[in-house]
């Protein structure tokens, strides 16, 4: 399905993204479901208060009974009554390497999910469609693991110091040069945790008097970094370029809200792949807008690095653009490289500034040596520098898996969100009871999936999210698809009416952008 795209000349390849509308009947039934659950919730709370039912919640200790209560009753209402019913779909403990197949520890609950006990049995060979293992580097044998073991025996397991003091090993220097070469930028800097990279570097780049334009569905780390920086935040509709352009025009023409002074800087925060929707950012248009209005672009490639692009260099390569157009390229090593940590890449002045002023460089410990070695080995493998074509094969396998899986699911009749090339596949469930049912049914059939509901998604749009991996073989995907088909028939999940509404035709509402000021 090809859409008519504004600025269509900027795209070198078809951009197929679809978000099918919620069928009306399903939406009504979902609200009814939530209504019934809320009623029952009130009933149970009433019974608990009058001691008819035993209260299993955490209770205050005796001496502290007259302290101000820690949780407001209503805040925890959702937690107590709805989340507790389906809690066994999350925090599932595993006991093997998180590759394509995992072993899970069996958990049972005798009191309706308030407490869990482990039976001691291990369920082996569950097909893992939940871990972020896009290129299959989560291995416990092979070149990466051997190199990491060597470094572990030489350097020890930790660093015990911040980056600016004794924490800068020669391994870190090597890593940063490699990352800069991989991305095609001038230089790069690595940090210990992906979340913390965002929340500690955005405050270093912008401050009061600057404007941040962030996408509606940005990740919590970006939102936290933007709030901590003290700049004004304005939100544009998800992946909607007209909304972004309008905000930019208004911002430059009208200036700061009360004083009408011009803004010092404008920073646009976008992600490469949005993990809950599976959509890819419209990067050519964003870069065109950025150049026209002289603002700066911060691209968070947490999920897309290693997963998109013909040689795994991320969303910039996927669209065939120049990496120097993006001012700040940020990403994490957790997802595709099978390690931990985050990085920021860009021009040399930017990275020098971050080395001196970033909070993480001054106060937080640096990456630990075996993790660094895993990143170096896996990155060299993807680039092909270790002499094999293993990396390239993985990237191609992932692309094939993605296309095949999505096509089959759409043919079966499920509603799938997102771009056709993104390895994150959300399958819509909508009703609260189906969230728990889907997770449990799939586990019975030996497939591990991730289900998400409120508050990570809007209240009626709960979904199951599949993360494809290059380590999944075609047989595994076929087994999974067969099981999904069965469960879909059992739970009546095949809502799609093949009325795919192209994203650009969504009505663009002038009055609904939000302005939040600190």
């Amino acid at each position: 399905i090809n859409h008519i795209v504004h600025n269509g000349g900027l795209y070198k390849r078809p951009f197929n993204e679809a978000f099918e509308e919620t069928p009306m009947l399903v939406a009504v039934l979902t609200y009814v479901g939530y209504g019934v659950l809320t009623l029952f919730g009130y009933l149970r709370d009433f019974m608990r208060q009058w001691k008819i039912e035993k209260c299993q919640n955490a209770i205050e200790r005796e001496e502290q009974k007259d302290f101000v209560p820690l949780y407001q009753d209503f805040e925890n209402f959702y937690n107590r009554n709805l989340y507790m019913r389906i809690r066994d779909s999350w925090n599932r403990p595993i006991c093997s390497v998180p590759g394509a197949k995992v072993d899970m520890m069996e958990r049972v609950s005798h009191d309706y999910n308030w407490t869990f006990t482990y039976t001691g049995r291990v369920i082996k060979g569950i097909i893992n469609m939940g871990s972020y293992n896009y290129l299959g580097f989560a291995q416990n044998s092979g070149a990466c693991q051997e190199a990491a073991a060597k470094v572990l025996s030489r350097y020890g397991a930790g660093v015990c110091s911040t980056r600016q003091e004794m924490g800068n090993l020669d391994k870190h220097e090597e890593l940063e040069k490699l990352v800069a070469r991989f991305l095609g930028v001038e230089s790069a800097m690595a940090y210990g945790m992906g979340f913390a990279t965002n929340s500690m570097n955005i405050p270093a780049l912008v401050g009061k008097g600057c404007l941040i334009l962030s996408d509606e569905l940005n990740h919590a780390s970006l939102v936290l970094g933007a709030r901590l920086s003290g700049a004004t935040i304005r939100i544009f509709k998800h992946n909607n370029m007209q909304s972004l352009e309008k905000l930019l025009k208004d911002a430059i023409v009208h200036g700061q809200p009360r004083t009408r002074r011009p803004w010092k800087k404008i920073l646009i925060l976008v992600e490469g792949i949005y993990s809950m929707e599976g959509s890819i950012v419209r990067l050519p248009e964003v870069i065109a807008l950025k150049k026209k209005y002289k603002s700066y672009l911060y691209l968070d490639e947490a999920h897309s690095i290693g997963a998109l692009g013909p040689s795994g260099r991320g969303v910039v390569e996927y669209f065939g653009l120049n990496p120097e157009d993006v001012d700040v390229m940020m990403g994490t090593f957790t997802k595709s490289f099978g390690a931990a940590g985050g990085y920021i890449g860009g021009k040399k002045e930017l990275i020098d500034y971050l080395r001196t002023y970033s909070h993480s460089a001054v106060y937080a410990t640096s990456l630990s040596p075996p993790v660094v070695e895993q990143i170096i080995t896996s990155m060299k493998c993807i680039m092909g520098e270790d002499g094999t074509t293993f990396g390239k094969e993985c990237v191609q396998q992932l692309a094939e898996n993605t296309r095949y899986f999505r096509r089959r699911l759409k043919e079966m009749g499920f509603i799938i969100y997102g771009n056709e090339d993104s390895p994150v596949v959300p399958l819509m469930l909508y009703m609260p009871a189906k969230i728990g049912a889907f997770g449990r049914e799939m586990l019975k059939r030996n497939i591990g999936v991730v289900v998400v509901g409120f508050p990570a998604t809007p209240i009626i749009e709960s979904r199951a999210r599949f993360c494809l991996s290059a380590a999944h073989t075609k047989e595994m995907l076929d087994t999974a698809l067969k099981e999904i088909n069965e469960v879909g028939d059992l739970l009546q999940l095949k809502y799609s009416r093949h009325r795919l509404v192209p994203l650009l035709d969504r009505p663009f509402d002038e009055t609904t952008y939000e302005e939040t000021e600190d």
Binding site: E63, P93, Q145, A340, A364, P370
Partner: protein
């Protein structure tokens, strides 16, 4: 419309980052080659290491390393997922059990990044409108946590219990003026066991007395005192002989 176009053309933003002088000390890092243990090789010279936080010397311990190698062979390096979605390993659960038993608390939870621990724990409990009394010399992670939580922050002088008592008394008089609001605002004190900025220990017994008198909850940040203070290394509560259940949260 013409004016708008002109305004857009004229506007010049500041450069993304201001230029940094080339001889700023942070730009020329000391390159450490080899493991950062007691003797450390910095820029090619061998020195005695007085700068790392390697208090118990476990960085170079053979037992630790061999256990790490074994788990590397079993699990690989990364977890590839958050705790909620297949990122919880049995070793995480075992570590949490052991920590809880060691520290004699009911439960424990672990985070992957030290900085993020206290910076996420504070906003989880203290929201907008709550009151937090915090020491002036609190470390940066605590400051970021407080900033993210949007609560009212009241600073008291470093390790000065009289100052803290004065602030608590003021808060009490305010509460009496508005008892309805006082019933819903939570109050917390955030202190560190061993302060990173000044290196002294907080007077915990007096804090416990203040806690029961004015009904505040205590957040205790034990990054530096865990393993260091106390007879078995349980931290500042063992050092002063206090029951750890009086502390609301210890991190």
């Amino acid at each position: 419309l013409q004016e708008k176009e002109e305004l857009i053309e004229e506007w010049q933003p500041e450069p993304l980052v201001p230029p940094v002088p080339k001889d700023h000390p942070a730009l020329n890092y000391n390159i450490v080659s080899g493991p950062p243990t007691h003797k450390i090789t910095v820029n090619g010279k061998e020195c005695i290491n007085f700068a790392s936080f390697n208090f118990l010397g476990l960085l170079d311990n053979e037992k630790v390393k061999s256990a790490a190698q074994a788990s590397l062979k079993k699990y690989g390096v990364g977890t590839c997922g958050p705790r909620g979605f297949y990122g919880t390993f049995d070793v995480h659960l075992e570590l949490e059990d052991r920590l809880a038993k060691f520290m004699r608390t009911e439960e424990a939870i672990i985070y992957s990044y030290g900085f993020a621990t206290i910076a996420s724990a504070i906003p989880a409990y203290s929201k907008r409108g709550d009151i937090v009394f915090v020491d002036e010399a609190a470390c940066f992670a605590i400051q970021k946590g407080l900033q993210a939580s949007r609560s009212n922050i009241k600073l008291f002088k470093h390790n000065d219990m009289a100052d803290l008592e004065r602030l608590l008394k003021e808060q009490e008089t305010e509460d009496q003026k508005n008892p309805r609001k006082a019933r819903v605002t939570r109050r917390f004190i955030v202190v560190e066991g061993l302060y990173m900025n000044t290196g002294d220990v907080c007077p915990l017994p007096e804090l416990i007395k203040l806690k029961y008198k004015y009904k505040v909850r205590i957040f205790l940040e034990e990054s530096l005192s865990f393993g260091v203070l106390g007879e078995h290394g349980r931290g500042i509560t063992e050092h002063f002989g206090i029951n750890v259940s009086a502390i609301f949260l210890s991190s």
